[in-house]
């Protein structure tokens, strides 16, 4: 038998799921799905009627994870109804991997040990590439396609090309993964990923915690990629062990790109030269160094979302807010990404630092990120947020404006009442 040609991590993951020795970019294959994740908004309330119509059952209830995060906690009868429907459906369908009001799906999924290198996972949410941070091939699908997966356990895909985004050097103080991804959005644009697989690599990555890596993979969605992979390493292993994944199930060695595997594009970035970035309305690609937007006054600063309110994010905010107060005329809202995040932040004093500075704590969930919950904006208001998207009208009224920045930058804006370079507040 001929020797196997070198393959990228993405190709290896797709090949395994498709039951093939070798796959080539452009080929259309059918993959077996290891896990399907849904949330309350795009999940049961949408797929249940479809399954009923088909009179079909789940292909494997043990491979389904449901996480209620979008409409939590209920603010009116409609959202309460959606959450109620979700609880009842999960029970009836025999889904035991159900996390109700425990935080945002992309954060809860790895936190509860559902991910590991080598898996092929679909999620009913566009930020599903987050799973790529764990060496999992994960991407987002709509509810109808999810229904197809729930019935058959399979999905078609075009084997992606691999786009390598390479980072060298060490980030300076006050500069974070969010700044890296905004810089990549600025350089590549929101369709730079061409629905292919992005792989983030380079020595900068080795120095990043899992939560920071998740921010990069999460916003592969903003680059228009299907997934955003990071090859697993010791940091991945330590995280997975800490959430209870058995050591024997963590395979680091297999899930690496071969040294001579072909990537179709490579873009190089210099971490040491990176300054804090801010995305101006209404696109993450509209990003520039924070100095460009210095002085823009903000009505609201929002630290929330899967990409911007994990434990590391809250610690970044706390390092700015320690001993300072939120400016009068500005409100700082913080929605920790998960219940576990809140517990960790309470245990290490982070939470107290945030509230002493005048931050208003909101419940863990999607909240104002997509305009679903508490913290939405009035007409003509300006907000700076640690979220992933600043599309027109996404956080509330159509005329509101949202700037994006790292938790450092958002916290600094809350203190100043306008956008500033957070490094001025880190001593």
């Amino acid at each position: 038998m001929a020797q196997k040609p070198p393959m990228t991590l993405a190709e290896k993951l797709v090949a395994r799921a498709a039951g093939l020795e070798v796959v080539r970019p452009g080929e259309v294959v059918t993959a077996k799905v290891d896990l399907a994740m849904m949330h309350d908004s795009g999940g049961p309330r949408r797929v249940a009627p479809m399954l009923e119509r088909l009179q079909a059952r789940l292909w494997d209830p043990d491979k389904v994870v449901v996480i209620s995060d979008h409409y939590v906690p209920a603010v009116d009868a409609e959202s309460a109804g959606i959450l109620d429907l979700t609880r009842k459906w999960v029970k009836a369908a025999g889904v035991t991997k159900f996390h109700d009001m425990q935080g945002i799906c992309h954060v809860v999924l790895p936190e509860r040990g559902h991910l590991r290198p080598g898996l092929f996972v679909v999620g009913g949410d566009s930020h599903s590439p987050t799973g790529g941070a764990f060496g999992t091939y994960m991407f987002g699908v709509g509810a109808t396609e999810m229904c197809g997966v729930l019935v058959t356990g399979e999905i078609w895909l075009r084997v992606p090309e691999t786009i390598l985004l390479h980072w060298a050097g060490k980030l300076g103080p006050g500069v974070a993964a969010k700044d890296m991804i905004l810089a990549m959005c600025a350089r590549l644009g929101m369709d730079g990923g061409r629905y292919q697989a992005i792989q983030y690599a380079g020595d900068t990555l080795a120095g990043l915690a899992m939560q920071e890596r998740m921010t990069l993979s999460n916003m592969a969605a903003e680059l228009g990629a299907q997934t955003g992979l990071i090859a697993p390493d010791a940091v991945t292993r330590d995280y997975l062990l800490s959430v209870g994944v058995p050591a024997g199930e963590i395979d680091i060695a297999t899930w690496q790109s071969d040294a001579d595997a072909k990537v179709t594009e490579r873009h190089d970035f210099d971490a040491a030269a990176l300054s804090p970035m801010v995305a101006a309305p209404h696109s993450p690609a509209n990003s520039a160094a924070v100095a460009e937007h210095k002085g823009v006054s903000v009505d609201q600063a929002y630290i929330g979302a899967c990409t911007g309110a994990k434990i590391n994010d809250l610690r970044m905010a706390a390092s700015v807010l320690k001993g300072r107060k939120v400016a009068s005329g500005t409100r700082l809202l913080i929605a920790p990404a998960s219940a576990r995040t809140t517990a960790e932040a309470a245990a290490d004093g982070t939470l107290a630092t945030l509230t002493e500075a005048g931050a208003i704590l909101l419940s863990s969930g999607c909240g104002a990120c997509a305009g679903y919950g508490a913290g939405v904006l009035a007409e003509n208001e300006t907000c700076i947020a640690s979220t992933a998207r600043n599309f027109k009208g996404r956080m509330g009224a159509g005329s509101s404006k949202v700037y994006l920045g790292s938790p450092y930058t958002v916290a600094a804006a809350a203190v100043a009442g306008h956008i500033v370079d957070p490094r001025e507040m880190l001593s």
Binding site: V28, S41, G42, R46, M50, R53, L54, Q55, A56, Y71, D76, E78, S79, I82, G124, D125, S126, S128, G140, V141, G142, A143, T144, E145, C147, G148, V151, T152, W156, M190, D191, R194, Y195, G224, Q226, S283, A370, G371, Y372, V376, R389, F391, K392, G393, R394, G396, G398
Partner: protein, 172 residues
């Protein structure tokens, strides 16, 4: 999808996102209500004046953003016959086909006139401007996807397959 569908063009720019197609603010309500706000942030006339089988012509990366299928469902609710763009966001594209909405990748979409009336030939992946006669080639869709759209989307397509499977099981 009939071969001879024709419709008026509604033209939009690059990066039309899912929040503009299906604004989060109205996502809890019924689809008919959501559809009234489709694209209103960029073209308030659209939802009021669009006619069945009209054609939405977008710019690059049409449908970027969230995975919400409502972004496709509102277009179907309004009767849109096809969406044409030089490139689509991946999830929107998959959703469109899965819901039986023809989405055609056309590198020359930018040249289509804003008020043109087009005929759409899905099987041959071709558009024709009925006034000028100019033809626009689109990327052909693989046969299994054309079949799925013809069936009305993934669900009817699955229904067909399940029926075959169940009758086989019944015989076994």
């Amino acid at each position: 999808m009939s071969a001879a569908s024709t419709g008026r063009v509604w033209k939009f720019g690059d990066n039309i996102d899912t929040d503009v197609l299906a604004p989060g603010l109205y996502m809890k309500g019924p689809l008919t209500e959501l559809a009234k706000h489709c694209l209103e942030a960029v073209e308030p006339r659209f939802a009021k004046e669009v006619k069945p089988s009209d054609i939405v012509v977008g710019g690059r990366n049409f449908g970027m953003g969230s995975s919400r299928e409502q972004a496709v469902m509102v277009l179907r609710e309004l009767g849109v016959g096809a969406v044409v763009a030089p490139s689509f966001a991946g999830i929107f594209y998959r959703n469109a086909l899965n819901l039986g909405l023809l989405a055609l990748v056309c590198s020359e979409a930018g040249q289509i006139r804003a008020d043109a009336v087009l005929s759409v030939d899905a099987a041959n992946a071709e558009l024709c401007d009925l006034d000028t006669g100019k033809r626009y080639a689109c990327e052909p869709l693989p046969a299994h996807l054309l079949q799925m759209i013809a069936d009305g989307g993934l669900l009817p397509n699955l229904q067909k397959k399940l029926k075959v499977q169940r009758s086989k099981e019944a015989q076994a």
